[in-house]
Point group: C3
Chain length 435, copies 3
């Protein structure tokens, strides 16, 4: 009876964690919406919910099998569209398959979501959705197979990536770099002398709410990655996750102040996200005081990365590359620097410099693979359907040009809204269906 | 000891689910606010929170007893305002009464909330709140008694409505039809030739966030309806709920594109809700691949229903009738079409065509009862206190006319807001108390 | 084995509760943002997230030890920056230290957050953050030591404050009174004859969403305070929390209507919060019907308190003092008036008039200590760094004056936003970094 009871409690914990990770997609949608300009918000929202929907279907049908199925060190060859009682090689004992699968499914959408923010405001919708399908159903699962699914890296090295600083964040960030390089910067983003023109966030309340939702969701992202409710493991994971986020927020606020003189909420918010991304790889083996250092350093690196991207003209409207790629690589390496006995899971295979080297090579290798895969995907899309909206659509704003609506309808006078809408093509019995 | 431990874990699961269902009311409030015009947003918010408050009090005092009390196949006659240790005939063994009651209580508010969106922007506040009291304390509990409370339908037929496609959604949707018929369309909604004039959504970020919150909340709505944390039952319920929502979003997006040429976020969002409503009746007996079909078909039906309501001039600002009535009826029937062994709970009594007939008749009967009850309620209110705001209030907007405030105060210059406010009646030491 | 299993379930429950309490900080941020004017929203958001970050770091390092460490009846002298396996005198048996610590940590930030709303729109950022550090790391922990940490009040009297009507809310509200007295009212808040000029809420959707999030979070705030998942204890706590909130919302709506004629959403929302604050002290010992009375009375008192603050010219933009101080004191006293056998935990030491007297003196004493501590802190800050922004910053709005950004960028035309931004100092590759 007792193992059954353990399974019961573990399932509740993992499902609670999965719900929090699912909610992160609302956070991603709000952060990207808030940081973008109001003329592109409807398309941003459409993209973000579409990513959840596409990843949900394709990861169940294809991605989960590639990631956790057995049969090869390079990709799973079983467990596609599995039944509830299917046996899948990489799935843990003592957790019902669909509980484990659902937790993994909500993870899978995040890698593609990271790319969404980086190419926002000028990438075309359909190619982005095609990329999303590839990223969530193939690229992410192949890397995940190496790290968590019983692949070569997992079985042959001591590489440690507890909850995905590399598997999710560096992979998403590396695909974002490829996307930004292929899609190019927003029109008018860089002035004649290459001096960047800031494009202001259209809503700080949306961005801040989004970051607080992501912060909350991370308790599930990291906490659920124990795949068990064992409290001596879970408690420290949750605490260090929170301390790293707090240190990241204050670190981003302080470093931006020193570096630019600005009192910058958006950088502080990205600092909090950087702290969360950075602690993700080692939340089980890094102690509370060390997690504060990891979070603060992660935020400082992100501020520097934002300034650097500026110089190399990689136009990333929401700071996705600094937060997820830089924060993810740093966090993975930080396991080799800061892992200690206060961590929940105790020692790693190897450890010391051996561990540090493994972390550097493992993170670098996974990010490189994701970048190359993303590069060929974006180049292929560019060569076929194209990856960018027409310039006049970009100037008018994607919402009106592609959806025929505004994100916010300001009309108060009765009829005024309706009258304006009369000109917008077939009218249907719905608000905002005039597109 | 072990049964006690089981009770402990089941209670945590059911309470977690209840919290998610409670959060759905924030989702309903945001969806209705976002899809309505900015001049009516304060009253929309006031209505939505009032529904939660009224239903919370009246369902505890009256509705729970009517729904789960024993004494008659037509209505419970005990368990009103129960104590924590009361014994109520329809309450399950092995779950503390107040844990079960709280989960049922957060459900009860949803049926009335569905009506709120359908009659938004012109129904008067007090009659709507009076209707809310009746719907949540009497109409919904009487139907619920038949389906879950030990009433005739539950005990004498094989009717299967796992989490309320009929009990909650079709019932709410049918009452909404009655409300819309009695209250009538918004002024200016239909042009001289009866051609509908779209009234644009005032905020897509609010609407999209609301739908994501509802999607999240549905994991509790369906997951908690197992009333147990048994993971072999819960895991599949959660997975199919998510797959149906994903398929609904993409189905709504695609079918609207084919049908109208529009790239329509609002229809895609309602498609996701339609998928969720549709899978609710059979989430325990429908497998993953079938759930994708159910979600997509639900979304297609909702798009068609929106176009149909348009032709018959039923003015439903948020699409509540298509989503909840059409989606709910379809979902209940879908149990007869798609239930299979992959479902979590295994076989139903009857099954096959017998089951299909039972589902059709059960769903139809409950919706008919709710429509008739709603019709007499709205007609009675119209004949006495009236159900509609004065035309000038509707034109000015309900917020200024009824509450004396704007949902958004744009004044930035100091004093400007204050000066405008000086004219608005008794000033109190609060923002926005000038109403 | 069974105690281990109990620990497992209790940890899941306490962590779930902690996540809900963490989410309350999003609610606080939205309520304060929504009720303030749009020119100050960025700074409001910056303050609210900073409070979470500062309290997270300092409570772990210092506050937790002061609150729960042993060594003296007046303050803990151990358990600073504890390790996961540390033994701390005031921490409960059978709950892992970091699970307990994280739940307490998310509580600690709330007291300071209460002050944030009261001094909003004119208090300077840095002194507020310094106050936050003191409040969350020292003042709140010292009171908490008395009430929950094994201090004199906890061990020598029958004082009962289940989840913090006094420990969190009255303490935060009392520090808010000190802050408002020292900082002074917003410029232009009171007219020549002292007649208050209302300063309208800039966004009701943000405020209403914030209150619904706080209502949800309170299920963790009160529910988790059992520190155990024991369902016979948890069920009633959750139910009465919800009933008090519902009664508070309707009570606030009705009493304002009677008192001022206004149909006032903001007062109804604060009524719901008042009901929640009021039930917090006795959620374990007050029955459902009594909780409705407590919630409604709390809301009536809050409406009256708002009108009273108006007369004495204490300018509290969000109503923090009425809700948290008045609601908290009333709720603590209400334990002596309404505690009964339906309460989950059964009898208290003392009881009857003895209990009532204890509650009055205990709540009054703690609030007085917090007021005095807050007064000296704010006076000290005023005498050194100053506590108020320059008048021209207050008039222009804190967002532009201090952060160089607007909370909402309305520019739609391409370039327009960018052009405006060109003048705003060093441009960086981020939205809204022009500050």
């Amino acid at each position: 009876m007792l193992p059954a009871m353990q399974t019961l409690v573990d399932s509740v914990w993992v499902l609670l964690s999965a719900f929090l990770v699912f909610f992160m997609h609302a956070g991603f949608a709000l952060v990207e919406s808030g940081f973008c300009r109001r003329k592109n918000v409807v398309v941003v929202l459409l993209k973000n919910v579409s990513v959840v929907a596409i990843a949900s279907l394709l990861y169940y049908v294809l991605g989960f099998g590639l990631m956790f199925g057995g049969g090869s060190p390079w990709a799973g060859l079983e467990g596609f569209a599995p039944a509830a009682d299917a046996s899948v090689a990489g799935a843990p004992e003592g957790l019902p398959l669909f509980v484990f699968l659902f937790f993994q499914l909500v993870f899978a959408a995040t890698a593609a979501t990271i790319v969404s923010g980086a190419v926002a405001e000028r990438a075309a919708l359909w190619p982005f959705l095609a990329f999303t399908a590839l990223a969530s159903a193939v690229v992410y699962p192949l890397v995940g197979h190496q790290i968590w699914g019983g692949g070569w890296l997992a079985t042959s090295t001591g590489f440690h990536d507890f909850a995905g600083s590399t598997a999710v964040h560096a992979v998403g960030g590396a695909m974002a770099v490829a996307g930004v390089m292929v899609v190019g910067p927003r029109h008018g983003r860089y002035g004649p002398k290459g001096r960047p023109r800031p494009m202001p966030a259209h809503s700080f309340p949306l961005a801040a709410l989004g970051v607080l939702i992501l912060w909350l969701g991370w308790f599930g992202f990291n906490g659920g990655s124990t795949l068990s409710a064992a409290p001596e493991a879970v408690g420290p994971v949750i605490l260090v996750t929170n301390l790293a986020a707090a240190a990241g927020f204050l670190g981003g606020l302080a470093h931006t102040r020193l570096r630019t003189g600005a009192l910058d909420l958006s950088m502080a918010l990205n600092g909090a996200l950087a702290g969360l991304v950075a602690i993700t790889a080692g939340a089980d083996v890094i102690g509370p005081l060390e997690s504060i250092v990891v979070g603060a350093l992660g935020a400082v690196l992100v501020v520097e990365a934002v300034l650097f991207l500026d110089r190399v003209r990689l136009d990333d409207p929401v700071g996705a590359i600094p937060v997820h790629l830089v924060g993810g690589l740093f966090g993975t390496v930080a396991v080799g620097l800061f892992a200690n006995a206060e961590g929940a899971r105790g020692l790693l295979h190897g450890g010391g410099l051996g561990l540090l080297g493994t972390q550097v090579l493992g993170a670098g290798g996974c990010a490189a693979f994701a970048f190359v895969a993303g590069w060929f995907a974006w180049r292929g899309l560019k060569a076929t359907v194209g990856v960018r909206v027409p310039l006049d659509h970009e100037l008018e704003g994607l919402d009106r040009a592609e959806c025929g609506v505004d994100a916010y309808d300001e009309s108060v006078a009765p009829g005024r809204g309706a009258v304006r809408m009369m000109d917008d093509g077939p009218a249907l019995d719905r608000p905002a269906m005039e597109g």
